[in-house]
Symmetry: C2
Subunit: 368 residues, 2 copies
């Protein structure tokens, strides 16, 4: 766990998010070291933290095929920041978002995921309008039940053909994200689901090969399956995001990564059996449960808009009004998304890191 | 429901939040009209939307004692924007936050809520350091189980005495928020809980009066209890926030307010029985359940980081890839907190409204 001297804690206006930089660096090195001996490459996912400063450190550790992101705005931020190979691991449909895709594709090698002919049409028009090449991956649904073609879907080869026919677009391969597996607690269950997905991917790959389509890229995986997916033989690159900062939910799995993100809060009210922290639903989210409190005998029982309720057992840490309390967010991606800056703790001092991949909401015609 | 022509919808980069300005204006007028005949005044709560443009319209409708907010930063934003009477309806403990309180108190009449002697000490030091007067309300816990003194707590009168002793501070009265009542579905249950709270408040007020302390202000209430609390006879002012934009959860109660906030999203993927929207946990929150979709036969079943799953029954609206779909957020406060701008729809066009009360996270010594 991070060691923050009280002189450092007391200067903070809480709640705020603090990155344990040495821990994040160890996570980055561990992951890069694993991938140095693998047939699949690493493609770190920007969506987890939206921070180009941190992403640069992930790429500098080596072994990366490029970066992944989830929105057209994130792609544009990454392209403007000089990242050269960017995958938007999602479908893009809005006209204004497709203009961002076109802008990003003028600055970097850009690939976008599709699962419908209309998306291909729209993407082709964006490529033409901006005079840029755009790569496309067809998404398979390997069990997450979100986007992607189901097993054996008849539109797979026609989509690849449609992409190839479009000037400005190139068919590059497949995306297949086993989102239903990444949080399963048992490593054996995760391994089984990954192997099933690999068989499905190879089945679809064979159908494409029979029609003359080669898959240069097959992209998928997540922090919970990073090694299993790299070794299952189907994917050429693994999208991992949460591994660098981790969170409370991934922290319950048997992964070799450490917590590196903390929400620093303050006790603002106190009764004999409970304490109230100055952090709520505007600074943390609860879809993965409560944040993990770093105080013996204490447990967060509820988050309301502006407060966290802490239940204290006999013998709990003597939390007093004014005390700083650290929480590990249960879910890293939406937690970081609530902040415009992270405070990076080097071990001796803080630096501000901008969460520069967060969208600024502007009407068309207003500058971004 | 808002009527947005497709020409207006198609220009938007989605997801984004749209305010139905005529509906919000009707909500504002209805609430102000109710309070014009009441013994209690209205104190609109900034926490619901953090938008000074909207707050100005609420005050312009009349009947307001001032504005409420929840954080020191919100108070400073309101004070800088010219609001003259500001209540921070929460405890403030951080040294840096207390400096914001001091700054705000130099610009506006400022009142802060306390429930512990340490908070009073810290507040008094801030008043001295900044050379400003600060008012204090002692918070009672009337059933919400959050901050505040429990029924009959021995520290009530000593706290009032401590406040009065401090140069720069003045004891102004009580805060009592019945957070456990505001969302109860039955109006009769809400009325019962409000009456109980009123009896508790009057009991504590009598204890203070016996010790020589007059309560100039007794502040509480919420959107779900606005009229019940105004008429129960204990409160001098009612803090209502959600009434102006409303949300999915308050929409299930029998309140005279209309939905005025919509998240505009786009269908990005489609299978026979379901659709996927481009909105997830970074643009909406789920602690109050799923957003309410404005499409016949459709239901949002899950939100992941970047996607909403929509289940479609037979005969459902024919949602196609590219279609715009409106959602009513389940919980207004944390939803608006995810955006830096709202798009205000007048009926003929959009205007940008800044969500200027959102905090910018800066290390001490960096400009805000």
């Amino acid at each position: 766990m991070i060691q923050l001297p009280s002189s450092a804690l007391d200067q903070l206006l809480t709640p705020c998010l603090v990155v344990d930089v040495p821990a994040a660096s160890r996570n980055i090195r561990r992951c890069a070291a694993f991938f140095s001996g693998q047939p699949a490459a690493l493609r770190p996912h920007f969506k987890a933290h939206k921070c180009t400063t941190l992403m640069r450190q992930q790429l500098a550790a080596g072994g990366c095929a490029g970066v992944a992101c989830q929105t057209s705005w994130e792609a544009l931020v990454l392209a403007r920041a000089g990242f050269g190979d960017i995958l938007i691991a999602n479908q893009v449909v809005d006209a204004a978002a497709l203009d961002e895709v076109g802008e990003a594709a003028a600055l970097a090698r850009l690939t976008v995921v599709v699962d419908h002919e209309l998306q291909v049409d729209l993407l082709a028009r964006a490529a033409t309008r901006h005079g840029v090449p755009i790569g496309a991956l067809v998404e398979l649904d390997v069990g997450a039940g979100r986007c992607g073609l189901p097993f054996g879907d008849a539109s797979l080869v026609p989509l690849a053909e449609q992409i190839t026919r479009q000037e400005g677009l190139s068919f590059r391969g497949l995306q297949a994200y086993e989102g239903h597996a990444v949080h399963r607690h048992s490593r054996e269950v995760r391994a089984t689901l990954v192997q099933q997905a690999a068989l499905q991917i190879q089945h679809e790959q064979a159908r494409l090969a029979a029609a003359g389509f080669d898959c240069e890229v097959i992209s998928g995986g997540g922090t919970g399956t990073y090694d299993l997916a790299a070794q299952a033989g189907a994917l050429t690159e693994i999208q991992v995001g949460s591994y660098v900062l981790m969170d409370g939910r991934y922290g319950t799995l048997d992964l070799p990564f450490e917590p590196a993100l903390y929400c620093v809060t303050t006790v603002i009210s106190r009764r004999p059996s409970r304490a109230v922290l100055n952090v709520g639903l505007k600074e943390l989210t609860v879809e993965y449960g409560m944040p993990v409190i770093q105080a013996a005998g204490a447990r967060v029982t509820a988050l309301s808009d502006e407060h966290a309720q802490v239940s204290l057992t006999a013998g709990a840490a003597a939390l007093a009004v004014g005390d700083k309390v650290l929480l590990i967010p249960a879910h890293v991606d939406p937690a970081v998304n609530l902040y415009d800056r992270l405070f990076a703790w080097s071990g001796t001092g803080f630096t501000e890191w901008e969460v520069d991949g967060r969208r600024h909401y502007r009407l068309p015609g207003f500058s971004r």
